[in-house]
């Protein structure tokens, strides 16, 4: 089983994305967070717990309270203390080259996925981690 954390405030998008992933593979579990801060707080609380830590994080950029960029700043500090390696993908509707370049310059970011999530991308992600 692969565990996926989805950090995105758009409830409809979260629902549709989960539905797409489920139809592609049954080998996954999900958890979603409405903003970056909720996700960071939870990750801190389970930093030692390899059972609960995710294999994949899908991170939206535009969110209230703590957006994706701020999350990345915090997560860069937190990551060395996380007891299980994972893949982090930016998952955004932005098609701005500036956003894409900026995201790819961050070491922790594996890739920049432009919404919506496609089947082949899901399989690639799940098989890769």
């Amino acid at each position: 089983m692969k565990s996926i954390f989805l950090v995105d405030d758009d409830k409809i998008l979260v629902y549709l994305t989960m539905r797409t992933i489920k139809s592609a593979t049954t080998e996954t579990t999900f958890k979603d967070f409405g903003n970056g801060l909720d996700a960071i707080d939870y990750l801190k609380s389970i930093a030692d717990n390899t059972e609960l830590l995710p294999d994949i994080i899908l991170l939206d950029l535009s969110m209230p309270i703590m957006d994706g960029w701020e999350f990345l700043e915090e997560y860069t500090k937190l990551e060395p203390h996380i007891q299980k390696k994972n893949k982090l993908y930016i998952f955004s509707s932005s098609i701005s080259p500036h956003d894409i370049e900026r995201a790819k310059s961050i070491d922790l970011v594996s890739d920049f996925i432009i919404k919506p999530l496609k089947m082949d991308k899901i399989m690639e992600m799940v098989n890769f981690c």
Partner: protein, 544 residues
């Protein structure tokens, strides 16, 4: 010199070669001196005095590089000389004629080249004095180069005629030192710049008419300093004090100092000079004198200021463009992605209940898209609405109208309002903007109230010079400005977990305020509250 005679220059050049070869060895120091003046005036790094010979172009005198020959054929230069014997190439790197020419050494790829011709007694061009730079040229006035080249021509001719008269006399051009002094003063007096030379105690040794046009004053100042001059002319000592500081700075250093100096002329028009001071020392490092000069750069300064304004406008426009890109790429694209996915699932679904659920989800997505689109159109209209008319706005009316609209939210939270428009009850502003601005600020203050206390919202105006400053302060949630300060007024920025927050309001308010030349800023502390300030400019006329 006439253009038609260019061909004969090339022919006569050959004859001139042999004239130049011998005399130059004796006048080398004088040519070096001329070249030094040209280089200092221009501020460029490289200069040469060069002559056409049968071995190619020879640099008789050179500063900034270290080869004696130019490789490549350069007679094409003669074709480019203007009627007064000058030629300027702003970028020879892109110029085919220059392709096979290497002017200096490998270390300097020359880009800018300007020269003035040096002629023999018959008026034939035998060489030139040039200024060079590795950066391309960007305009500038090199009039003095022509004058200096004339002096070089005179030197060369003089030395040749003297040599012709007497081969034995090898002592050069000038027999008496008086001639030499007159010669140099002639140059300095005719240069269209201010020149002053000081002794190590900051007393004047020399000033040229460019610096002080009145001959009597020019005589008076020799041997005196700026303080004595200021006293004599009944002027403030401030200028003398500032000059003394600069002088000491130059006198105590080994490098030249330069600065820009703006003064008003008698008509009150600002004139800007680029001034330089450089110390001259002997071999033991003792200060001999300090040479100062200034060039009028007023025109360049005006251009620079115009450019700075343009750059600022452009960067504002660029920010706005980026903002729009962000809306299109995120705020508009996000609901579209949802819609297309929903439609796809609706098509694929074979279960009626499931299909109904999906259709229900379409509604908020469409509303979201609709809302964003409306706001986008509205903000574009603000930017295009240059014709929008200001009118007298009685602020109380607009606040009351807004409070009526926000009645439900205000009552629900038991909000209290304190309004004080005594200092400036009326402003001059477009009615539709001010309504939207007040509505945004008040609804924000209510929306982001602290749940544990009743909202207290203060609205006030005060006068400041020609402006009126409107402030709206609340005791609400506040914002961490260190974290959000930079992106505060951007589109889609939401700082609280509040389902009504779309993040468009402040962007709109800012756009409307700035469209009328005003400014908006915020002071805030988390959990204490926020105060928004808006400065409405040009409110002087209304004594209302």
């Amino acid at each position: 010199m006439e253009k038609d005679s260019n061909h004969s220059f090339i022919d006569e050049r050959i004859g001139a070669i042999y004239e130049v070869k011998t005399p130059c060895s004796t006048i080398g120091n004088d040519l070096n001196g001329l070249l030094e003046i040209a280089l200092q005036l221009s501020g460029l790094p490289l200069a040469s005095i060069s002559f056409f010979t049968d071995e190619g172009l020879i640099h008789q005198s050179k500063i900034g590089f270290d080869v004696t020959h130019t490789s490549g054929e350069m007679s094409f230069l003669l074709k480019h000389l203007t009627a007064d014997g000058c030629a300027t190439f702003n970028n020879i790197l892109n110029d085919e004629q220059w392709q096979n020419v290497q002017l200096t050494d490998d270390a300097h790829a020359i880009s800018f080249f300007t020269c003035a011709a040096i002629q023999n007694m018959d008026g034939a061009v035998i060489g030139f004095m040039s200024l060079m730079d590795t950066a391309p040229g960007s305009g500038g006035n090199f009039n003095y180069l022509k004058k200096l080249a004339c002096q070089a021509s005179a030197l060369v001719s003089l030395s040749y005629s003297q040599l012709a008269k007497s081969d034995a006399q090898t002592n050069g051009i000038f027999q008496a030192s008086g001639d030499m002094k007159a010669f140099y003063e002639n140059i300095l007096n005719k240069l269209p710049t201010d020149i002053a030379v000081f002794d190590p105690n900051h007393k004047y040794l020399f000033v040229n008419p460019g610096a002080i046009s009145d001959e009597d004053l020019r005589k008076f100042i020799i041997g005196k300093d700026d303080f004595e001059y200021a006293a004599y002319r009944n002027r403030s000592v401030d200028v003398a004090q500032r000059r003394r500081e600069r002088f000491l700075l130059a006198a105590n250093s080994n490098v030249e100092i330069k600065w820009e100096d703006t003064l008003n002329d008698p008509d009150g028009v600002p004139i800007t000079h680029l001034r330089r001071l450089f110390p001259v020392r002997n071999e033991n490092g003792e200060l001999l004198m300090v040479i100062g000069y200034g060039i009028d750069i007023t025109e360049r300064k005006i251009m620079e200021n115009k450019q700075a304004v343009l750059v600022k406008q452009l960067s504002v426009q660029n920010t706005q463009l980026t903002d729009f890109c962000n809306i299109v790429s995120h705020n508009l694209r996000a609901p579209l992605v949802n819609m297309s996915m929903l439609v796809q699932y609706i098509e694929e679904s074979e279960d009626d209940t499931d299909r109904m659920e999906l259709i229900k989800m379409l509604k908020p997505v469409v509303e979201n898209l609709h809302g964003t689109f409306g706001e986008l159109v509205e903000s574009i209209q603000i930017k295009q609405d240059h014709e929008v008319q200001s009118e007298k706005i009685k602020l109380t009316d607009y606040v009351e109208r807004t409070l009526k609209e926000l009645k439900f939210e205000a009552n629900k939270s038991q909000a209290e309002f304190e309004i004080d428009f005594n200092e400036a009850p009326v402003i001059l502003f477009p009615s539709k903007y001010i309504f939207s601005i007040i509505h945004n600020l008040l609804s924000n203050a209510l929306k982001y109230r602290a749940p544990e206390r009743k909202p207290l919202i203060r609205i006030a105006t005060k006068k400041e010079n020609d402006s009126v400053i409107l402030s709206v302060s609340d005791n609400g949630l506040g914002i961490d400005l260190e974290k959000h300060g930079k992106s505060f007024f951007k589109i889609g920025k939401v700082f609280h977990k509040n389902p009504n927050a779309k993040g468009f309001g402040l962007f709109m308010t800012k756009t409307q305020v700035e469209a009328m030349g005003g400014t908006i800023w915020v002071e805030s502390k988390p959990n204490e509250g926020s105060t928004f300030f808006i400065e409405f400019k040009n409110q002087k006329l209304q004594s209302l």
